[in-house]
């Protein structure tokens, strides 16, 4: 119909009843009854005219405070509405749409008539799910005073983007020993007292560069000795986030996947604030690459990456190695995983050989109800390979787990 106006069910009922009444009145020749029938017919038509002619012309501007927030928190939405048509006089029912996981949006009524007006409306959204969402658009339904006709109006304005980030735990525990100097070797030998070549050497291993052989020391020892490079401080970390659907239990915000992502994000942000370069891997490859960014810029990139992560369909952690070039030259390795198989543990062990102080946070089999016996074996394997492995239960306070991990790492 014109401008989207259509009669309501009540209007249609009145029209039909009026037509029937007018027909009967005509058949029995009673003009006064026919007036009644015609009146009931005419009323919805006039209401349609009212709805079409007196529709408001609306514009709006929405602001989200804040536009990015961790999951579980509440934000405030303010919509500023303006009508530019002076003859608007209909009832106005507005609906600001939002995805179902954000609560479906808000409805409100504005009771204004005749004249241009501005109106600000405020409502809150409680976030339950991580991700990126579009809030809006704003739609309006106008009606006539008797409820016989209605129309949809689309105010002019934009949708707003809302980012719901993973929950970022405040990790106050200072990270000790990660990425300091060494590239994860075993404890270096100190040969001799304060000698002229005060250099650290270790035995030659297969694969070491020939140019690094310290010939003098090698003659003394009778074994090939390789110079330990004093690398510049390489503050970088590889964070592996296991996002495999198979490996996690639970649904929605309380699942182990969300906990894992939230923990990984917290650690990544903390390290980024400490000026580390973070590479995040998971699923089928790299989730985040620093690309020369550090500091605050890297932080935002990390948060964005963690916001957008979903569950992956991979079956094994080895799939991460498919893109393995980027994963080489990093300082330390932290793994946040779900349920592990022995194969996964082997993969992790091989990755961890070249890294310093590999650590892992895995779910507690008993607390999560994991039925697989492999998980326990995998944990034991990791620990035997020198990993610091810590376990978490459902809904556990992440800083506590992190503190335990640090203690374990220091002890190892």
């Amino acid at each position: 119909m014109i401008r989207g106006a259509r009669p309501t069910i009540r209007g249609i009922i009145l029209f039909v009843a009026g037509a029937v009444l007018a027909g009967i009145a005509g058949a029995i020749g009673e003009p006064d009854l026919m007036w009644l029938g015609l009146f009931l017919c005419v009323l919805p038509l006039l209401s349609l005219v009212v709805v079409v002619a007196l529709q408001p012309r609306l514009e709006y501007a929405r602001s989200l405070n804040p536009a990015q927030l961790p999951v579980g928190e509440r934000l405030e939405v303010v919509v500023r509405l303006r009508n530019v048509y002076p003859l608007a006089a209909t009832t106005l029912e507005l609906h600001d749409a939002a995805p179902v996981s954000l609560g479906g949006g808000a409805r409100f009524v504005v009771a204004r008539a005749f004249g241009r007006w501005d109106q600000a409306v405020r409502y809150g959204i409680q976030t339950e799910q991580r991700g990126r969402f579009l809030v809006g658009p704003l739609t309006a339904r106008v009606g006539d005073p008797l409820g016989l006709a209605t129309s949809r109006v689309h105010p002019r304005g934009e949708e707003s983007l809302l980012r719901v980030t993973p929950k970022l735990w405040p990790l106050t525990e200072a990270k000790r020993g990660l990425g300091v100097g060494a590239t994860g070797e075993a404890a270096p030998q100190r040969i001799g007292q304060a000698g002229q070549d005060d250099v650290l050497v270790r035995e030659h291993r297969h694969g070491d560069d020939i140019r690094r052989i310290h010939w003098r020391m090698s003659a003394k020892q009778g074994e090939l000795m390789v110079r330990l490079e004093e690398h510049p401080w390489d503050p970088s970390a590889l964070i592996i986030t296991d996002t495999r659907r198979l490996a996690h239990v639970g649904e929605g915000p309380s699942s182990s996947l969300e906990w894992t992502i939230s923990a990984a994000a917290s650690v990544a942000v903390k390290l980024s604030d400490d000026r580390y370069r973070i590479v995040v891997a998971g699923g089928s490859g790299t989730i985040y690459q620093p690309h020369q960014l550090t500091g605050v810029a890297q932080r935002q990139g990390l948060i964005d990456a963690f916001t957008d992560i979903g569950a992956s369909d991979e079956r094994e952690l080895a799939a991460i190695l498919a893109e393995s070039e980027s994963l080489d030259a990093t300082g330390s390795l932290i793994v946040f995983s779900g349920q592990l198989s022995v194969q996964d543990a082997a993969t992790l062990t091989s990755m961890g050989l070249r890294m310093a102080k590999p650590s892992a946070i895995v779910p507690d089999a008993g607390a999560w109800g994991l039925r697989s016996a492999e998980h326990g074996d995998a944990v034991r394997l990791l620990r035997a390979s020198g990993w610091a492995v810590e376990q978490y239960g459902p809904g556990e306070h992440m800083p506590t787990v992190w503190a335990r991990l640090m203690v374990r790492q220091a002890a190892a």
């Binding site: 005509g26 006064d32 015609l38 209401s47 339950e128 005073p145 649904e251």
Partner: protein
Amino acid sequence: MNPTANPVVSPVIALATWLSLLPLGALLEGRAHLVEAALLVTVVGIIGALGALLGLGRGGTYALQVVGGVAMLVWRGLMLGPGDTGFLGTFRALVQEGSATIAASAPPLDATNGVVFLILALTALVQLVLELLVNVLEQPAWSFAPLALGYVVAGIAASEELTVPTFAVVAGSYVLLLLVATGIGEGHRAARASRSGAFHLTRAGLALLLTVGGVAGAAAVQPLLPMGSKQPWQDTQSGPIQLGDPTVALNENLRRPEDVPMFSYTTSTGAPSYFRTVAMPDLTNDGVRLIPMTLRNFGLSGAYSAPGVPLEVEVQMRAVPSEYLPVPFAVDDFSADGVWSYDPETLAVVATGADRQQQTVNLRYTASSTVPSPSPEELDAAEAGQGVDPITTVVPDVDPRVAELTRQVVEGAGTAGQKAQRIQSFLRGDDFEYSLDAPQTATLDVVSSFLLEDRYGYCIHFAAGMMTMARIEGIPSRMAIGFNSGTQQEDGSFLVTSHNMHAWPELYFEGLGWVAFEPTPAVASPPSYTDADPTGPSAPEPSPSPSPSPTNQSESPEDDPQVPVPPTTRPVPGAGDDAAWVLPTVLGLLGLALVAAAPLAIRTAQARWRLRPGQGPAELAAGAWREVRATFVDTDRDWPDGSPGPASRAVAGSVPEPELLRGIALAVERATFSREPVDPTALPDQVQRLRRALYADAPWWARWWPRSLWGR
């Protein structure tokens, strides 16, 4: 239940109800009914407003309003009614009096107490139905039906059309009601401007414009549309019906030498019967006459009740035009083609169709009657009856010697019944002679000379004579015109010819009703309940007079003074016929039951559809959640915001079975958000259990009026 009931609605309903009674003023004299109705609607409206203000809930307020309305009705009924007949008797008397006034008179009616009480009852009904529609069921659009009731009744019953201002009042009251009952939208976080007062004023102004536009549009469009003829169901001539003088036909038929067959009949008992066309109660100086009759279309069987013997007859008319239908007195029911009405006083059946005179031509019809047939002892003991039209007891200015003669004849008779038999025996006695030579009229002078000097005449004289003498003795009497029994044929039926046309008197006795007598000798034997003829049995055969010579008696009736009978009034449709109401009532009740059950059926089907097996898990989850939402709306619970999990937590306190709801919400969330295949087969059962629990907690009518169907 309804925490935000609007207290303005009930007073507006009261006002609208009162306004809807204004068109009835076209049918009534006086304004007493408006005053009474104003009191009633005010009381019920105030109860409604108080109920809304105090938050009593819809059902409680409505129950109080019903109680208040009925109490007002009872009180006013006791005030208006006759105070001497007891509690129930007062109301019965009021209702009867009102119905009788409405049925018998034409508009404008006198606003008697009975009529006022009936209108008061109508007002209470209209207001309570409006309250039900608007406040309890929240369907104000349908309120045009009760509001228009007064207007429709007035429009159909009054002869002149109602005016546009009257119509405008009714239309305005409907729009006012709709305006007040329509909300301005459901917004959970409603942002109302500080100028909501101005907004409501604007709404009211717009509604006023809509009313004016609607009324003007209706009045403008109506003349352009085709209209049928006015009230075609009455199907009568628009003017009064002129009935001819029956004695003219009587004289014609008796004097014509040819004996023309009129009709033949068979009876259920095999015995013969007199057939009557009409009875004339007016004994004037110029003869016996009809009086104006108010004809009716319905209610023949209940119009006259007196003891008698049931008789069914089947009649085949010849090609004889007649404006009356010959039936035995007192007729209860008849079945004949054509349009017929009857006079409740005399039980004469009159043709009222478009082609009145031709309706009896070759007509085949049946009739069943209750023929008065008291035993001789009952007649001997009977007294003159009371309570009939006084015109049947008017004693004309007859020669005083007739009174003296009458006194002599009835001397020694104790009761009226014995007196009547004396008169009949006197007239059938040797003193009188049947002769067609007598004057054709039965004026008072002719009757006097017939009774005193001449003592010869034919049926009209004998009948008029007995009428006069009976009235002198205080017995109500009237003259019946019709046919005597006719001759029996070989096959058992009877043939009635033109020479069988006859006149006889009917006298009214207490407890017996109108009883026929036969004072004319040589025509037929006297009725079985009277004394036998003093001189031997008379000729059973009806025969024309011994000297049927048309000497002075001319065959052309135009010489006789044709006094036109005063016109009868228009036929008025009365109360419903007896057996005919059963079938429409049953069908109507069935239809009502179907309509009432339809919303429940639709809702149940919708629930089944949403939970049907064979859908994918996401669709099933969505359907299940929609179903839960719809059930919440049906049972008038608030629907919380948010996705299923938090929503179920938010209402956990106010629903029965919060754990079940939580489980359903969890399952729905899992099916919706999780990408693993989820098994939702338990969902339909859970949702049905939840529905049962929610309905158990809700009022009984929530099932029958599911508001979710109406999108609220």
